[in-house]
């Protein structure tokens, strides 16, 4: 059967993608950002993941204001990088495991998570930047080393789904994946954050203390963490910090007991605190493959 073995939390700052695309990651500003992903890339390679289930948000790129689905599951055969106003990122097209995605769509709705099904969709930096930081430089003629199922979450128009809803959805995604017959190793990504505010007179807000407790509690206290009200994200982590609800989808899909195997935190990348964590299901609880 298919199973989720590990989770990755990761910021998806667009400037990180720009730095990779322009080949300036060795500049002093960027070195501390990318140093923290060196271990992650080795880890990612070792996982030999068949599929990445990637939770992200669109930044008013593919979804305009005419239609705002709270949860949109990518069921198309592939997803091209979108033009966000300065041309598409020069990275590979993302290929789906379309049969598994269809299975998850059906399973989730019968499990009372009424997601939107996307049979055509482009993807923006919210999806491609986490792929780039975890898999390294890939050009348009390369291929990503695994298939990707995107789940796009509305965090732009308030309210985003609650942390609890996201956490419960993570559990439903796990049930869906574990009821799929093919023997697949799935790694789930929750992306966005950490503290940042891009807009108006309070732009530039960073709250390292708050971000740190968030990273700590992903392992030690995930259920209570998922109960964090929206206003706390907005006030403490900035108006765009509410993206972090997406990390609860990832956490909900893992075992209750997980092991933190890597963490990286750096301020800043552009306007944002870069946060990253790798969580593995406790090995002794894994079923033998």
């Amino acid at each position: 059967m298919a199973r989720i073995t590990a989770g990755v939390g990761c910021s998806h700052v667009p400037a990180i993608g720009v730095a990779m695309d322009q080949g300036i990651t060795d500049q002093p500003y960027w070195v501390p950002v990318f140093d923290g992903f060196e271990k992650s890339r080795r880890w990612m390679k070792d996982q030999k993941a068949d599929v990445v289930f990637l939770v992200y948000n669109d930044h008013c790129t593919v979804f305009d204001a005419s239609c705002i689905p709270t949860f949109a599951l990518g069921c198309a055969p592939e997803f091209a990088p979108a033009d966000e106003g300065w041309g598409p990122r020069p990275v590979p097209v993302v290929k789906n495991h379309q049969v598994l995605a269809s299975h998850i769509a059906q399973s989730l709705i019968l499990d009372e998570f009424d997601i939107t099904i996307m049979n055509e969709m482009e993807v923006d930096h919210g999806l491609t930047v986490p792929m780039s930081v975890m898999f390294g430089d890939k050009g348009v003629n390369d291929e990503w080393p695994c298939l990707v199922i995107p789940l796009c979450v509305n965090v732009v128009q308030y309210p985003a789904p609650t942390g609890n809803r996201c956490y419960q959805l993570g559990k439903a995604i796990r049930r869906a994946i574990e009821s799929f017959d093919e023997d697949l190793n799935v790694v789930i990504f929750g992306t966005g954050g950490m503290s940042h505010q891009l807009q108006y007179k309070r732009a530039g807000l960073i709250n390292k203390e708050w971000d740190t407790q968030f990273l700590d509690r992903l392992t030690s206290d995930p259920v209570a963490l998922s109960q964090t009200p929206h206003v706390e994200y907005l006030r403490e982590a900035g108006s765009e910090g509410v993206e972090m609800v997406m990390w609860h989808v990832m956490r909900g899909a893992l075992d209750d007991d997980v092991e933190e195997v890597h963490r990286h935190y750096h301020v800043p990348a552009s306007n944002t605190a870069v946060g990253h964590i790798i969580l593995e299901n406790k090995k002794d609880q894994r079923e033998p493959k």
Binding site: P14, A15, Y29, H59, C60, T61, D64, A65, S66, I68, A82, D83, E84, G85, W86, V156, Q157, Y158, P159, S195, Q197, L198, Q199, Y200, K201, R202, A203, G204, L205, I206, N207, K208, W210, H230, V231, L234, R235, E236, S239, E240, V267, P268, S270, N271, A273
Partner: protein, 134 residues
């Protein structure tokens, strides 16, 4: 019963809720149209004519023409949309923040490199009213 907006007392911040989404709809739809090259070309050929395609308020239209980034947010714009207009002008997110905060590019960038804007004194509107903008 009215919905409780417990986020309205955060200073220097607009929470883009359903009411703002309604007010800013035409403005935001204009902005997102600029993500495509053919629309950027059309806007470049004539801003006024292009804007005629969107039923914005007079104030919203003027804010666009003036590139008054804060005014656009005050009138229902959202940063992810207005950033498309900024990108059209060759302004990235960090430069845009320098403009919106009134700090300018260099001072804003220096603040971020030094760890960003502290939450202390920046959580509640009354902190700004009493102490002045941080």
């Amino acid at each position: 019963m009215a919905l409780k907006k417990d986020y309205e007392d955060i200073p220097g911040t607009f929470v883009f809720d359903a009411d703002r989404g309604r007010e800013g709809y035409q403005l935001n739809q204009f902005c997102i149209s600029l993500r495509l090259q053919k629309n950027r070309d059309a806007f470049k050929a004539g801003e006024h004519a292009y804007l005629d395609g969107y039923k914005m308020t007079t104030e919203q239209r003027q804010a666009v023409l003036d590139r008054d980034w804060n005014r656009m947010l005050e009138l229902g714009g959202n940063i992810y949309y207005t950033s498309k207009l900024a990108a059209y002008d060759g302004i990235n997110f960090q430069q845009l923040a320098g403009l919106m905060t009134g700090m300018g590019d260099e001072a804003y960038r220096a603040m971020m490199v030094a760890g960003g804007r502290s939450p202390d004194g920046n959580r509640f509107q009354h902190e700004w009213d009493e102490g002045g903008d941080a």
